[in-house]
């Protein structure tokens, strides 16, 4: 199914046309599957295509429409998930070779189940950095996911397949996870919208953990309306995830057009303005100009927050993987294994100090949000590096790409703030994203600002190929 301008349709349009009976969900899904088969060889976004399931679910949506029943707000919308989400009957790889020996999942992850209940159609599982310990989108076992804007470049990670599948028009919505930036980095490098909600807002049950005190799940999409549709469908308490908040849902799809005139917005200065390449600086300046933002505000201790997030991640993930490291160390991606082995060496005092700093930093950030509703910051210091690139130079300093590409995302997920990434495209250049950040539970505000920017031309066109 193509729209009048031959663009691949977005979720909102698919759902509207399927719900009205104008389009048939089965045909939408067959088109989607054809496109995935045609493009996945070069993009390497999918590790599993759930074709039979997709056709069965699409048929069920069409039957509901035929019977006059409500097929759900995402009726017939194809979606795919990072392969750390449980899909009933499939092995949850989490980007690893080790998990290939696991039994298939007996049930879908809660987030998958909620999207399916809303009428969305699961079409497959997506490539990712092994066990989510990654900002590049590279994977030694399954090959790198490739950036649809330039196949020689990284997608970013660890939700690399999610970024590639959405940016390449293979699916309008994908799910990813974000511990330190794994939704936001691929959204930035692939030029799409990505939402990391407040820690505890969306259920993580059935998602393979990486660092449970920092893990989030969220959607990636090519429009703010699609992001909001998916986000709304996944909200709600979940007893299966002890972190998932017992809060009333706060649906945002109906208020996206409210604008941001009443919101006080500032640019995050200091740490967030250091180490940025000109591409990141210009993207931030364009977003700030579009929103008429000139105030600068510095959050104290952000370099320490990033360091603390790094240490907690290192300690917690290596603890989670200790038994696998004992028995399967040689089967890991060496970059992941060596970081996790290093994590086993961390003195407890480093981790405890990092946790103490977390509470201090949260209090400092909340003081800033008493003065401002939203903050703007770059999402990544640079646009997509070349696949295989090990080092990057920022402010004259050589640093490794894999641990450092998320240096602007890491301090924010550290205290669970909601963040949306907005794509900034420039002719002849790779896209790059800007983060819009709010106080906890204020997803509606960041999505309104993202919608305002979308109306100003900050969109996510599918690259020609």
């Amino acid at each position: 199914m193509k729209t009048e301008n031959d663009a691949f349709p977005q979720a909102q349009e698919i759902a509207q046309r399927v719900r009205s009976g104008e389009w048939c969900a089965a045909e939408v899904v067959q088109d989607t599957l054809r496109h995935i088969h045609a493009r996945n060889g070069e993009i390497n976004a999918f590790t599993c295509i759930t074709e039979a399931r997709a056709l069965r679910e699409a048929e069920a949506v069409d039957q509901k429409v035929a019977r006059g029943e409500d097929p759900g707000p995402l009726a017939g919308v194809p979606f795919a998930v990072k392969n750390l989400f449980d899909l009933q009957g499939e092995i949850t790889l989490a980007g690893s070779k080790i998990n290939q020996k696991d039994a298939p999942a007996v049930a879908d992850a809660t987030a998958v189940r909620r999207l399916t209940a809303a009428g969305a159609v699961m079409v497959g599982a997506l490539n990712m950095g092994e066990y989510a310990y990654d900002f590049t989108g590279e994977n030694i076992h399954y090959g790198p996911s490739r950036n649809p804007h330039d196949l020689s470049r990284m997608t970013g990670g660890s939700s690399g397949g999610s970024g590639a599948a959405v940016a390449g028009g293979m699916v309008p919505i994908a799910l990813g996870s974000d511990t330190n930036g794994s939704i936001r980095v691929p959204s930035s490098l692939c030029g799409i919208f990505g939402l990391k909600p407040t820690y505890g807002r969306l259920p993580r049950a059935g998602a393979f953990p990486f660092c449970p005190s920092l893990d989030h799940v969220g959607p990636l999409a090519r429009s703010v309306a699609d992001l909001a549709l998916a986000y709304d469908a996944m909200q709600g308490a979940d007893a299966a995830d002890p972190v998932c908040a017992d809060r009333a849902t706060d649906l945002v799809s109906g208020s996206l057009a409210d604008g941001v005139a009443s919101l006080k917005i500032a640019i995050a200065a200091g740490y967030f303005m250091q180490q940025a390449t000109p591409a990141a600086e210009q993207a931030l300046a364009r977003v700030a100009a579009a929103l008429n933002v000139t105030d600068l505000v510095e959050i104290p201790g952000t370099a320490q927050a990033r360091a603390a997030a790094y240490l907690i991640t290192n300690a917690e993930s290596s603890s989670l993987h200790l038994d696998r490291l004992r028995h399967h160390a040689a089967d890991y991606d060496p970059d992941v294994r060596d970081r996790m082995l290093a994590g086993t060496l961390l003195p407890a005092s480093w981790n405890i100090q990092a946790q103490r700093f977390r509470r201090w930093y949260r209090a400092e950030v909340l003081k800033v949000f008493a003065r401002y509703d939203l903050l703007l910051a770059p999402a990544t210091p640079m646009s997509a590096p070349a696949i295989g690139q090990r080092y990057m130079e920022l402010d004259g300093e050589q640093m490794m790409v894999r641990p450092h590409l998320g240096l602007y995302t890491q301090p924010l997920s550290f205290i669970g703030l909601p963040v949306v990434v907005v794509p900034v495209a420039s002719a002849g250049a790779m896209p790059i994203g800007v983060q819009i950040i709010a106080a906890p539970w204020q997803e509606a505000r960041i999505l309104k600002a993202a919608r305002e920017l979308e109306l100003h031309g900050f969109t996510s066109p599918i690259p020609a190929h």
Partner: protein, 66 residues
């Protein structure tokens, strides 16, 4: 006190041996350089963190609530 003549690299290597042995981890020789590199990166992060001293009387640690 460390015995004279033992450099930092040797001390890290000795520390790694003790920890890996006690955790039951078997680490190949060819992995050690990168493990050491990543450990030193964590050590640098810990230094960054410690550069911002918190008031030790302040109760900032996560609290267990029964």
């Amino acid at each position: 006190m460390n015995p004279p003549g033992i450099d930092a690299e040797t001390r890290v290597d000795t520390y790694m041996n003790y920890i890996f042995d006690s955790l039951g981890l078997s680490v190949r020789e060819e992995w050690r350089a990168d493990v050491t590199h990543y450990f030193m990166l964590s050590a640098r992060m810990a230094k960054v963190l410690e550069a911002y001293p918190l008031d030790m009387t302040e109760d900032l640690a996560p609290v267990f609530c029964p």
